[in-house]
């Protein structure tokens, strides 16, 4: 039996904007429901919380049976963990989405143009819009890529753009993931799980589908195949192996695309082409969607101790007989020092102002900025320039005095290793708990596919949610969870 209104809404925690002015995406002032959540909330309010709790437990069981897990390094007891899933969707209106898509497309096109430029003519450097030192002294810049243009001129076949929201129309790009962004399998599985658990919601509300992603990925990769490739290009997914934290995703994507999932020891260079060992001998590969870092791709060109890659693969690549997705060396575009120049980069290549804002960023390599950062450490977020996954970062407002002091010392010793940003009041979306709905901070990673002449943003993405009250860290390695992300169809 449903008990309308019963303890579903955690009034004490306050679903709406709190004293700090945090924007809640579901509730406006006085607990009024924002219009894109109208139909959902109507349904939710009529549901029995007990049934929802049962459903939430079922969802967890589904994830476990499906094996949607990630591996945690050095933790033998929990070598396969689930990322917690919250049953309350994050909903984005068609209008909001249209604007996001424009901004994202503009941004990824600029990133691709930037990569092409700095590995070839270097016009943006000559124009003085990005200092040469930011590129030249950067370990993410790959000299081996200089003077070479990948097939179709595409560097970033797959991009995950991390976006945070601070108000009704305030969206900021927090990070561009242009190397090997992960998380798309969660976008797909979260949706499948929601549809299985709550089919009634999907007939009641018009939601843009995400299920075409694997097919689009395959087409996009095939469209980026090298020139002179005959018939249907052969695509394979390269994984570091079973023990990699994203192994599930690698096998999931290979499976959904109908591509082979290969490891380094399945591959070899045969007659100047990359080939995989099949039951009937070696068979050539045209496009390799590699989920292995640049450094490990080829022991002959990069790290000589790498066991994950293929000796000689880089030569085949430079000879134009293979597409690597993404291209090696794209890391320079999602480097946090380069990030701070993104507004200039976008303007330089598109001739337009950036549609999506950057988060204001202090480069600690600049003495004035370093001075400001050291004085305001308690209110800033400080990140390593090459860091990812939420490791090695400082969240000023929630750190102790000792932590702040320790970090200040690190900053002074090695300033060029850090950037700082203001602590943003990330928007919240309620999660479902035993006490009802309660707000938690979220971010959003939409997934973008790029092939010659085409950019495609899948309507939705991965919403990560910080499950701890007040926490701003959404990374799964740091106790974050995920939500299904709905983009409402324009009706």
């Amino acid at each position: 039996m449903s008990e309308p209104g019963d303890n579903i809404y955690d009034a004490e925690a306050g679903g709406h904007a709190d004293s700090k002015g945090t924007f809640d995406e579901m509730f406006g002032r006085g607990a009024s429901v924002r219009s894109c959540y109208d139909s959902y909330f109507q349904w939710f309010d009529g549901e029995d919380p007990k049934r929802l709790r049962t459903k939430a437990a079922e969802a967890e069981a589904t994830f476990r049976t499906t094996g949607i897990t990630f591996n945690v390094y050095g933790d033998p007891d929990a070598s396969e963990r689930l990322i917690p899933f919250d049953i309350v969707p994050r909903i984005i209106s068609a209008r909001e989405w249209t604007r996001l898509v424009k901004g994202i497309e503009q941004r990824v096109l600029a990133i691709n143009a930037f990569l092409n430029d700095i590995y070839n003519r270097g016009e943006i450097l000559r124009a003085g819009r990005v200092p040469v030192s930011v590129i030249a002294r950067n370990s993410a810049y790959l000299p081996q890529m200089a003077g070479f243009t990948p097939p179709g001129g595409i560097y970033t076949h797959i991009v995950g753009v991390d976006i945070v929201r601070t108000g009704p129309d305030q969206f900021h790009v927090l990070e561009d993931n242009a190397r090997t962004p992960s998380g798309v399998s969660y976008m797909l599985e979260n949706r499948e799980t929601m549809q299985k658990m709550f089919p009634e919601l999907f007939s009641r509300i018009q939601i843009e589908p995400v299920r075409n992603y694997p097919r689009r990925l395959r087409h996009s990769l095939q469209a980026s195949a090298p020139d002179g490739c005959e018939g249907h290009p052969t695509v394979a997914v390269l994984t570091p192996g079973l023990h990699n934290s994203a192994y599930f995703e690698h096998s999931f994507l290979a499976d959904q695309m109908g591509a082979e999932l290969v490891e380094g020891d399945d591959l070899r260079i045969v007659d100047g082409r990359l080939a995989m060992r099949t039951t009937q001998g070696y068979k050539p590969i045209d496009v390799l969607y590699r989920r292995v870092d640049d450094d490990f791709l080829d022991p002959l060109s990069f790290r000589p101790d790498s066991m994950l890659g293929v000796p000689g693969i880089f030569d085949v690549y430079r000879a134009g007989r293979l597409t690597l997705a993404n291209a090696p060396g794209t890391g320079i575009a999602d480097d946090k020092a380069v990030y701070s120049y993104m507004p200039e980069i976008i303007e330089f290549y598109s001739g337009e102002k950036a549609i999506l804002d950057n988060v204001p960023t202090w480069r600690c390599s600049e003495p004035d900025a370093l001075g400001y950062v050291l004085d305001h450490l308690h209110e800033l977020v400080v990140k390593e320039v090459h860091g990812s996954g939420g490791y090695g970062m400082l969240v000023g407002p929630t750190s102790s005095k000792r932590e702040l002091e320790r970090f200040a010392r690190k900053l002074k010793t090695n300033p060029e290793n850090y950037i700082a940003q203001p602590t943003l009041a990330l928007s919240t979306v309620p999660i479902f708990t035993r006490r009802g709905l309660t707000p938690r901070h979220v971010d959003l990673r939409p997934f973008v596919l790029m092939s010659p002449g085409h950019v495609n943003v899948t309507p939705g993405g991965l919403t990560r949610v910080a499950l701890k009250k007040g926490s701003l860290v959404v990374n799964s390695s740091q106790g974050g969870g995920t939500k299904d992300t709905w983009v409402l169809a324009d009706v």
Binding site: R64, G67, A254, D266, T279
Partner: protein, 313 residues
């Protein structure tokens, strides 16, 4: 298909079959140990020997206490032949070849691993053993059922069948050999009444007590049992049945790939050996010798398949 994938499928089903066989052996042991005339130690020793685990067990334990033996076979952690580690190995292979399995097959395999992992986390109490064995049977049936109901009948399927059949044929040969060689080492008296306990272990450990009784109207003779387990092509765990399946799977691969490999010569030889033999010949020339020959050819065949289809670099 990748060579590695073929290898993963082959071994996934070998391990699964092996775990199934250990479960069956435990079940046989429990059933027979319950009969008043049975000597418990005898029964468990023979079960351990059949599972190929007697030596490891003796290294670690002094008594043949039933719960101890059963727990050893079910969940001994650093014993690669315990049900739990076999399921784990099957599942690891399944993870590796997930892209070649339907979602149903993968989920059935993963579910087995999760559920057995939960029940086998702590020692199994005597009153819960039947429940655990039931679970092993059910989970394995689920994997096979999903395989048959959802997989394409192509090379993928052929490699799973090769794994199951080669493992099963080897297991049936071992069950017969252990009983003959270890338990009845002296002269073999054709037609003499049987030590019921021992022979019932055999029939139960291949889940064939019922079908044997249907076919032979309850007449339990050693020659009847040997004939049944080696030559009867109606019996899904007999050596001849398994060899036929290996042959048809390899035949499929030769057609599909348009190429005969050295493993095809081996399976032809195995088939010819079985066709040329009969229960009388086997008994007169030595059951043990026959089984030894078969076992070594059967495992050579497995190795040859791994080589011919490039499972490894």
């Amino acid at each position: 298909m990748l060579g590695k994938t073929a290898g993963g499928l082959f071994w996934m089903f070998r391990y699964l079959e092996r775990s199934d066989n250990v479960g069956r052996l435990i079940d046989a042991g429990l059933n027979i140990a319950l009969t008043p005339s049975a000597d418990g130690d005898d029964v468990w020793q023979s079960v351990l020997a059949t599972a190929g685990a007697l030596e490891t067990y003796r290294d670690r334990h002094n008594t043949l206490e039933p719960a101890q033996v059963v727990n050893f076979l079910l969940r001994e952690p650093d014993h690669s032949h315990s049900v739990m580690s076999l399921i784990e190995q099957a599942r690891n292979n399944a993870r590796m070849v997930r892209t070649a399995l339907t979602r149903e097959v993968w989920e059935a395999m993963n579910q087995s691993w999760i559920e057995l992992g939960t029940v086998l986390q702590r020692p199994v109490k005597e009153r819960d053993i039947q429940h655990v064995l039931e679970l092993i049977r059910r989970q394995s049936a689920l994997v096979h059922g999903s395989l048959h109901g959802t997989m394409l009948r192509n090379d993928t399927f052929a490699f799973t069948r090769l794994g199951t059949s080669i493992e099963r044929a080897g297991s049936t040969a071992r069950i017969l050999d252990v009983k003959y060689y270890v338990l009845l080492p002296s002269a073999f008296h054709v037609g003499s009444p049987l030590d019921n306990v021992q022979w019932e272990v055999i029939l139960r450990s291949v889940s064939a007590r019922q079908s044997y009784l249907w076919l032979k109207q309850g007449d339990i003779q050693p020659s009847g049992i040997i004939d049944f387990l080696i030559f009867d092509r109606r019996m899904p765990r007999s050596i001849a049945f398994c060899v036929d399946r290996v042959r048809s799977s390899l035949g499929y691969l030769a057609d599909d790939y348009g190429r005969r490999m050295p493993c095809h010569d081996l399976i032809d030889k195995l088939t010819a050996d079985i066709d040329a033999a009969s229960v009388d010949i086997v008994i007169n020339h030595g059951l043990h010798e026959f089984l030894m020959d078969f076992t070594s050819l059967n495992s050579a065949l497995g190795t040859q398949i791994e080589k011919d289809y490039r499972f490894h670099v």
